[in-house]
């Protein structure tokens, strides 16, 4: 049960009555009895909450930044009308609104309520409980009860870098031979024979085929297809650091901004975790590689395998990737590179392009990846992609005062470490892509296209 403000108001009026009554003791008893009786009547005649039934429908999958609508149908099989308020409780980062919905369901009928979800971070959000407060006819007291009406919404990574996809696909088509100027060297895989036209490279004339026919025949080449790309996402502690500006506000940013009790944080609003930027880049690469005819697998790993997507068909690849990525959060543990390499080697039997999305942190790489790097680079082509921090670059550029120069020196030290790690990786034959958050996805796609063009896959 629950009381309303009206009950308190009646009691407050009772103060005046008691004060002015000739027999205040009797008046007090009378007012209290009357109020208790009215509350009892309200409780008895309020619509029952327990027999209510709820049915849900609506969005199950949305991208971060989109708005989901979840419908809640309230069915009232009882004999009395249920009038009052309903709260559908979701976790705070689901951004459910409105918080409390007015409810009025006559006996034996059903009503549809619409709840809008505006999630502030990736992952699965599930409804916790539906609570109904059913007011009595006098509005003094209400029956209250909670129901479990399960529904969950999976918030997928937003894939913001898909805007770069058309231009990269155009470059891919150039490589692919659908471009008129098809020349030798743009690929290593034999494609077809065709008649010689003026302008073709004479070195590509196939003399044996020419001898069998009356025309001069040239061979055409195209980039390799059906190669394997394994995208490995490091979800260890280094992927939790936030960089850049969040294109879609995340839960952390919201916690700093809102709330009366939360002390406003003077520091700048943190951006997205490296993990989210890496996911964005991985999605662009996967989309591009799938169009290029390569087989894309995905592995997320810190100390254990967090997600594994393999053998997805070209059309389903992106949806299965985002579904696998959605619940992944950065774990605050040091990634186990040995286990990661073992997982890669056990899963990738044939030679493939391993794209490792991690951070170029010299301390963790020295202890983790560097010792096991030869195992990996001897069997596979390794491409390490890392998100650099634009804030470090900004700190390195500011040199007006002594304080800023000290900061700039620290930033220079960090960048030096990064460059040294990059140089060491390159000496091992590892491709390295190090780009700020906004550029990491196109830079990774370009690196992939360059490898493809060079026939190194």
């Amino acid at each position: 049960m629950a009381l309303t403000g009206r009950a308190a108001l009646v009691a407050a009026l009772g103060i005046v009555v008691v004060l002015l009554a000739p027999q205040p003791g009797a008046a007090l008893a009378g007012v209290c009895l009357l109020l208790a009786a009215a509350i009892l009547v309200d409780l008895v005649f309020a619509g029952a909450v327990r027999p209510l039934r709820f049915h849900r429908s609506g969005d199950r999958l949305i991208r971060l930044g989109q708005r989901a609508e979840v419908e809640l149908v309230v069915e009232n099989p009882g004999g009395r009308r249920v009038r009052g308020a309903l709260r559908d409780a979701w976790p705070p980062s689901a951004g459910a609104s409105p918080r409390v919905l007015p409810l009025d369901v006559p006996a034996g009928e059903r009503r549809r309520l619409v709840l809008t979800l505006d999630p502030t971070r990736r992952g699965d959000r599930a409804s916790v409980a539906v609570t109904v407060r059913s007011l009595g006819p006098l509005g003094l007291a209400a029956r209250q009860g909670s129901h479990r009406a399960p529904w969950s919404v999976r918030v997928l990574p937003p894939f913001l870098s898909r805007k770069h996809l058309p231009s990269r696909l155009a470059r891919l088509r150039e490589l692919d031979g659908r471009h008129p100027a098809l020349v030798r060297g743009q690929g290593t895989e034999f494609d077809s024979l065709r008649e010689y036209v003026v302008g073709d490279d004479v070195r590509s004339i196939d003399w044996r085929a020419t001898a069998r026919r009356h025309d001069v025949v040239v061979r055409t080449w195209r980039p390799e297809r059906d190669r394997r790309v394994l995208i490995v996402l490091d979800t260890g502690r280094t992927s939790a650091g936030r960089v850049g500006d969040a294109p879609v506000p995340l839960a952390g940013a919201q916690a700093n901004g809102g709330g009366l009790l939360v002390r406003p944080d003077p520091r700048p609003v943190p951006g997205w975790p490296r993990l989210d930027w890496s996911m964005d880049a991985a999605l662009l690469l996967a989309a591009l590689a799938a169009r290029a005819g390569d087989q894309v697998d995905f592995l997320a790993h810190d100390r254990a395998v967090r997600a594994w997507v393999s053998g997805a068909s070209r059309t389903e690849l992106l949806s299965s990737l985002v579904t696998a990525m959605a619940p992944i959060e950065a774990e605050l543990v040091e990634a186990d590179s040995q286990a990661m390499v073992a997982a890669i080697l056990s899963r990738a039997k044939r030679r493939c392009l391993v794209v490792l999305l991690t951070d170029l942190n010299s301390a963790s790489l020295d202890e983790g990846l560097m010792p096991v790097l030869p195992q990996l680079s001897s069997r596979h082509l390794l491409l390490v992609a890392a998100v650099s921090d634009p804030r470090v670059a900004a700190m390195a550029a500011q040199r007006a005062s002594a304080e800023q120069v000290y900061d700039a020196a620290a930033a220079e030290r960090a960048r030096l470490d990064r460059r040294r790690v990059t140089a060491r990786l390159r000496r091992h034959g590892v491709e390295v892509v190090d780009a700020p958050p906004d550029d990491i996805a196109p830079a990774l796609a370009d690196a992939y296209l360059a490898l493809k063009a060079a026939g190194r896959l």
Partner: protein, 392 residues
């Protein structure tokens, strides 16, 4: 084990609120425990002796500080004990001869009307000596510890009683008085004749209390002092009324002036506050908790290192970092490999920028700046070199 697979049931909603039965089932142990505690409390209150506020040396008080035992002893010996709590009542009792006035609350009884009461007088207490009731008696400063003392005096009442638990005020009497139980420079008991009666002043009344009466010669001394009279007027301190009951100048207390509805209205207001609290305190649905990802900016380690440099004024390390960064960026533009020697870098840079090789060399490989201004200047110079190299 059976599984219910009716359609709609697996996806449907179900109530999670407790039913009356489940509330009773989960709460009955607590209710039983509460009832047991309540019953024990009631029993203890019913069977424990009444422990009112203790009133020291009150003939009606049964607590350890009271004196009901002494009053009972006196009554057994045929002495009438009249307990009065005002000077007027005490004066009104003083009609018959042979009545003794016992004053145990000395701080409010220093009244001329009381001083005119004839007959014997016993004044007990250490707080303040009533100079009008006991003229000539002086209270020496300091006081003495209450303990068992020997009489050491010719007073029959005291010698018969022997040692007594006494102390308190140190008294000296007027000429002709008898002092007993020496304490400090005076006595704990002073007795002298005055206006047809005997005035006895005792430094402390502890020996008359229920606690001490059975020890030493306490009871004997008390009976010797009081039991000789036919009746005792026992003047105790009056009950203190509550502040609200004190009468004002009109002769009316605050309660008299208040409209009769006010206390009831206050009760109603309390009920209102209770209802308000119930209204606001009832939450619509549960508090939802969520595990949020940690919010840590990746640049925090770099900022921390910068603050360390600043705090320790680590100019050498800072300058090293800045120089290494500049050399790293400049050498590829100069057409030099990463393993270029110092003099090669300096020479190539001097040629490219048109500056003095000495100056360039000092900036890139010289000693660390001695102050912050030097560090800022070095950073500016390195910036300028880089800019020139990238422009040309």
């Amino acid at each position: 084990m059976s599984v219910d697979l009716r359609p709609g049931e697996t996806q449907g909603s179900h109530s999670t609120s407790p039913t009356v039965c489940s509330v009773w089932r989960t709460g009955r142990a607590a209710v039983a425990l509460g009832l047991v505690i309540l019953a024990v409390g009631v029993l203890i209150t019913l069977f424990s002796p009444e422990q009112g506020e203790s009133r020291p040396l009150d003939p009606a008080d049964t607590s350890l500080a009271g004196s009901k035992a002494l009053a009972q002893l006196l009554r057994d010996r045929g002495v009438t004990v009249d307990r009065v709590d005002s000077v007027e009542a005490a004066v009104a009792k003083a009609t018959e001869p042979g009545r003794l006035l016992l004053v145990t609350a000395t701080w409010f009884t220093d009244d001329p009307a009381l001083a005119r009461v004839p007959g014997d007088r016993v004044i007990v207490g250490s707080t303040r000596l009533p100079s009008q009731l006991a003229p000539g008696v002086r209270d020496l400063p300091g006081g003495s510890r209450e303990r068992s003392r020997e009489p050491e005096c010719p007073l029959p009442a005291a010698t018969a009683a022997g040692s007594v638990f006494i102390g308190g005020s140190v008294l000296t009497g007027p000429p002709g008085s008898t002092g007993c139980y020496p304490a400090g420079k005076g006595w704990s008991l002073v007795s002298y004749p005055h206006a047809g009666g005997t005035i006895t002043v005792v430094g402390s009344g502890e020996f008359m209390s229920n606690l001490r009466l059975s020890e030493d010669g306490n009871a004997a001394l008390a009976l010797n002092l009081l039991g000789t009279a036919k009746a005792v007027t026992w003047l105790v301190e009056p009950d203190q009324p509550a502040v609200g009951d004190l009468a004002g100048p009109e002769g009316k207390s605050v309660h008299d002036l208040m409209p009769p509805g006010i206390p009831w209205a206050v009760g109603m207001a309390a009920i209102t506050v209770l209802l308000l609290a119930l209204w606001r305190g009832r939450r619509l649905g549960p508090v939802v908790m969520e595990r949020l990802p940690v919010v840590v900016r990746a640049a925090e380690t770099v900022e921390g290192r910068g603050r360390l440099y600043r705090a320790r004024r680590a100019r050498a390390s800072a300058a090293d970092s800045l120089r290494a960064g500049t050399i790293d960026r400049v050498t590829p533009r100069l057409g030099l490999g990463s393993g270029a020697e110092r003099h090669e870098v300096v020479a190539a840079l001097a040629v490219r920028t048109g500056q003095d090789p000495q100056q360039v060399g000092a900036a890139l490989y010289g000693p660390a700046p001695v102050d912050d201004a030097g560090l800022v200047a070095l950073a500016g110079y390195l910036d300028a070199i880089e800019r020139t190299v990238s422009e040309h």
